[in-house]
Symmetry: C2
């Protein structure tokens, strides 16, 4: 029931179909981020209407509030948030490192203070499997230890080996169910020997898909692409590959060319709330516009002249400029609607380009 | 083209039909408030889907930002904000008094500092007619002088006479167009002799409809009802009557019983953003619930068990509790959707009750 089928190939890039208990996903796919059981500022129907077939949520955040037990009792995450499609939940390794105070990592697990109310929490790879089971996550992620960038090789190495041991414990704690999946996360910073060991180790344990973690944390794009190429050369063809937390349209196009199938990033939603719109380069070379800019106060054009989203069909830049500057909620709503649609349009165009064997000359975005 | 037809009567209460250039309105009607060219936290399609046939916006706010001239240049307020139905614009007398600094009122007009950027602005009844013409308002309101509550009789009297003179100048400055309308505003505080003089004066000038201003500013409900009864006894039967800034469901029911046709209030939208939901009394005697209350954390019921809105059909109180407590925008969106729908449902039930001659035993809400 959890099947990944490759449909078309152009060099390393591929289109595919990921079948899950909650629906089918066309890859390469971009997953809008719904950290706390909501894709910020939009209704789930809007996310679906944009063409999104899977969203990402976060086990760490939901475990703290409203708790996994509560969501389970209420019928699971899908019912809770009114999203019936597939949900991938990040386990929260990154969030434990970046959001919590007084964390202490041992081989057994991690102790930290909740960033919400300061309560002390002890987290293990097994507990995170329970949490994601209770949520009813379509795709669960293993707990990993993330290091900050730049990291010395010995720091990255220690975290990589620890993450690998945690991944094995996660696999053992994971309840196999038809149509659900568990992904491992490759770590190792920018060090190819560490990435190789991590990839080999995870493949030996065996997962339904492989995520590349610890990238897009500050390194150059060329550095990121180098690591992706290195890792993907090792990974099996027939499993989905997920580049975590990426990224800008150019990052995504480059990663797809190097064989990545799945992406997530807060960029379209977060920057939408900040007044930034992603637009096709025929609108502006830069690929983004900040609607707060005074030049848009009298602009009768839509955000993106080639976009078919609700925002672009119904509102001028002048109106968006007004409501964003006035801090009206509808500003966040309309900008987010556009950005989510833009990203889904980008992925549609990428898939079409691969089908037509012209991703290498991809010029639409 | 601007026609008001009474359909049914039950004692002083009446149902009617208000025909305008931008569409027909069933009365008694509640107008959601869209002060700055957006009904806060909802899309215009959602407002329409709730059954709202007219919204209120504010000439004062729009005149300051993005300016009436700009909206005119962009095609008018309807196009600007993507709402094709009727729009009533309050002229802003109340806002001038409550929001601006250093105001100085003379018989000629009012000088004040913008509450946004401190620029000095001079406002006259004629200028406000120009502003509402530029916006393309379906129903324009005259500029009036509002006094704070409680006001001494001599203060209320002075403001009432001044407002009356301003109303005459507004009428002279108003451009008559088929299907558009200009309403006068009755002032006079809680003093019946002043209300009588104001009503007579406005009727002598002649308006398409009459608003009762200066109520729901802190006086007892019984006091408000007394003034409404007094004013409505004087007003012509065949013109719409609009009670400004009202109010709670009980206020509306009581005012309809006394012959009022139109209402507006920020209550459903503002309180929605604060976590308060209006619910039928079968849910709770009080008629409102605050979703932040801990008792809702595990509540699988919808906000209102008899409500058919999008929020109540798709989300539990437990989910709303979670997203409102987390300050997620979707919390404001879903609560507002419900409250707007609730108010429209209330008006539908009121109209039906009048048609069936049972408003006096109105028990649905």
């Amino acid at each position: 029931m959890f099947n990944f089928t490759i449909k078309n190939k152009e060099k390393s890039a591929r289109t595919g179909k990921l079948e899950t208990i909650h629906g089918t996903i066309d890859t390469p796919v971009f997953m809008p981020v719904g950290t706390k059981a909501t894709v910020k500022a939009v209704l789930p129907e809007t996310v679906k209407a944009a063409g999104a077939q899977i969203i990402l949520s976060n086990a760490y955040h939901l475990m703290l509030r409203p708790t996994a037990e509560r969501i389970h009792q209420l019928g699971g995450l899908h019912k809770f948030m009114n999203w019936s499609g597939p949900i991938l939940t990040d386990s929260g390794g990154y969030q434990v490192m970046s959001l919590s105070d007084l964390r202490k990592v041992t081989d057994d697990g991690v102790t930290f203070q909740s960033h919400i109310d300061g309560t002390k929490i002890y987290l293990t790879p097994e507990r995170l499997m329970d949490v994601q089971f209770l949520l009813g996550s379509t795709i669960s992620m293993v707990l990993d230890e993330c290091v900050s960038y730049p990291a010395e090789q010995n720091v990255a190495e220690k975290a990589m080996w620890r993450s690998l041991k945690w991944a094995e414990r996660a696999k053992n704690g994971y309840v196999v169910r038809d149509g659900y999946a568990l992904f491992g996360i490759i770590q190792g910073g920018v060090y190819e020997n560490l990435r190789r060991a991590s990839t080999t180790g995870l493949m030996d344990i065996g997962f339904d898909g492989y995520a590349i973690g610890g990238l897009a944390v500050g390194e150059e794009q060329s550095e990121m692409f180098r690591v992706i190429e290195h890792v993907n050369a090792q990974l099996p063809e027939n499993k989905p590959r997920y580049l975590m937390g990426v990224g800008k349209p150019d990052d995504i196009i480059g990663a797809v060319k190097r064989g990545v199938d799945m992406f997530d990033c807060v960029l379209p939603t977060r920057s939408g709330r900040n007044g930034q719109a992603f637009v096709r380069k025929c609108n502006t070379k830069k690929g983004t516009i900040n609607i707060r800019n005074a030049s848009f106060a009298d602009d009768l054009l839509p955000l993106d002249q080639l976009c078919g989203c609700y925002t672009c069909k119904n509102y001028t830049r002048a109106y968006l400029h007004h409501v964003v500057r006035m801090n009206e909620i509808i500003g966040s709503m309309l900008m987010t609607i556009h950005n989510i649609f833009y990203y889904q349009d980008l992925m549609r165009a990428i898939r079409r380009a691969i089908e037509e064997n012209r991703l290498n000359n991809f010029v639409e975005f």
